[in-house]
């Protein structure tokens, strides 16, 4: 099947994540989500931002963390994921050199 548009307006991201626009604006103020465009009318979000928003909302709800704590948690989780990926890649490359 063809892909649907992968860019979204504020209204569309609110619908996709089932979140009120205040939540999205809070995430933008915290720098967790950084849409293109200069204001609510022109903001453009991508799919990655939808999944980050959903994750932020889950953490906010389940762990009872305020939004600035969420911002910290999300950036640390991202960093951890990057380091894990990098570690895995380097390990694999090292194995190619050390086996035999």
């Amino acid at each position: 099947m063809e892909l649907n548009a992968q860019y979204f307006s504020l209204e569309e991201i609110c619908y996709a994540t089932q979140s009120p626009s205040q939540t999205i604006i809070e995430l933008i103020n915290q720098g967790i989500v950084e849409p293109e465009g200069s204001g609510p009318e022109t903001w453009i979000f991508d799919t990655q931002m939808i999944t980050v928003t959903k994750k932020a909302c889950r953490l906010h709800r389940d762990l009872d963390i305020d939004w600035s704590g969420i911002a910290l948690a999300i950036s640390l989780i991202e960093e951890l994921e990057q380091l894990r990926d990098e570690n895995q890649r380097l390990r694999k490359r090292l194995e190619r050199f050390l086996d035999q």
């Binding site: 099947m1 063809e2 892909l3 649907n4 992968q6 619908y15 996709a16 089932q18 799919t47 990655q48 939808i50 999944t51 959903k54 994750k55 909302c57 889950r58 953490l59 709800r61 389940d62 762990l63 009872d64 948690a73 989780i77 994921e81 990926d85 890649r89 694999k92 490359r93 190619r96 050199f97 035999q100």
Partner: protein, 319 residues
């Protein structure tokens, strides 16, 4: 259906006060939250923890549960119908769909049971019954070769299906998804309306595919470049050679210069992964390897070489 000991789940005493329960929940939730934890059973564990907290944080629910726990825990199987009759109220969800709670929970506090998502579909539902259907998140494995051009790939996933009687079961669904050229590991694709069905007139949820590049037996990925390790015989490294090098798009000729070293990188322009702004490069990393066994004749040749060559590979140690 087994009796669930919510106090045990949260590791608190049955007479614990609400503050202790809250702290215990937060501690466990941080440890097992699927967005944070790498634990292989994180999602299951977290559901149990959330369910236990849902009951114990609410004094009314807790009292109801305590009563059952005191009188009915042992013969729970026989008591459930009675207790179900007694609690007619519909539970309104706050942390999960009510369907994400156990049969045990539903039998006390009401709500139709909905089994958890099948293997492969991870993530959990966030929508309440009145809103759109459940979003499904699942990984989509992609071979490196498939990222070079836009391709169509099938994806199978399971999602909850509600029949006319309101019974919910897991059904499998397969879609053909167009994967754009140059897609990267971790990128997400959203397929609108391909998630769980909505209740009544509510629209269905969405499907989110998280692209996972399958590790390749020959190539490693470094941003938009590829790396291949090229084993060389010692004499090939010394004298140079020409060899056939596999790339993602067929074989090419690669010239190895004389006096090459292990770890040396040769760049083959444009043979990496596809990006919106062109191709990455392929790097051939050289690795000098010895034959498994050395014949008597070879040994003599090596000896001649050793006698004739003034080379100290451990020069650095002598400084």
């Amino acid at each position: 259906m087994d009796f669930q000991d919510y106090y045990k789940t949260l590791s608190v005493a049955p007479d614990a006060d609400s503050k202790t329960i809250k702290t215990a929940y937060r501690k466990l939730a941080r440890k097992y939250h699927p967005d944070v934890s790498e634990h292989h059973e994180a999602e299951e564990k977290f559901k149990e923890i959330a369910e236990a907290y849902e009951v114990l944080k609410d004094s009314k629910k807790r009292a109801q549960y305590d009563e059952l726990r005191e009188y009915g825990a042992q013969g729970y199987g026989q008591q459930q119908n009675q207790s179900q009759g007694g609690s007619g109220q519909q539970y309104s969800q706050s942390s999960f769909d009510q369907g994400d709670f156990s049969d045990f929970f539903s039998s006390i506090f009401g709500g139709a049971h909905q089994p958890g998502q099948g293997a492969g579909a991870h993530g959990f539902s966030t929508q309440s019954a009145a809103r759109k259907g459940q979003d499904i998140e699942t990984d989509m494995p992609i071979f490196l070769e498939d990222t070079l051009a836009t391709t169509s790939k099938p994806i199978s996933y399971s999602l909850p299906h509600r029949d006319a009687q309101g019974r919910v079961s897991q059904v499998n669904k397969t879609l053909n998804v167009k994967i754009p050229a140059g897609i990267v590991d971790g990128e997400r694709i959203r397929l609108k309306g391909q998630g769980g069905q909505g209740l009544g007139d509510a629209p269905p949820g969405d499907l989110y595919l998280r692209i996972r590049l399958v590790p390749h037996p020959l190539f490693d990925v470094e941003a938009h470049n590829l790396i291949i390790t090229v084993p060389l015989a010692p004499w090939e490294a010394a004298l140079g050679t020409s060899l056939e090098l596999p790339t993602l798009s067929g074989k090419i000729k690669l010239r190895i210069p004389a006096n090459s070293q292990t770890g040396q990188r040769l760049r083959i322009k444009g043979k990496g992964l596809v990006r919106k702004d062109g191709h990455g490069d392929l790097y051939a990393v050289l690795k000098v390897v010895m034959p498994d066994s050395v014949s008597e004749e070879s040994k003599q040749h090596w000896q001649q070489l050793a006698d004739a060559t003034a080379f100290d590979p451990r020069m650095e140690w002598r400084k």
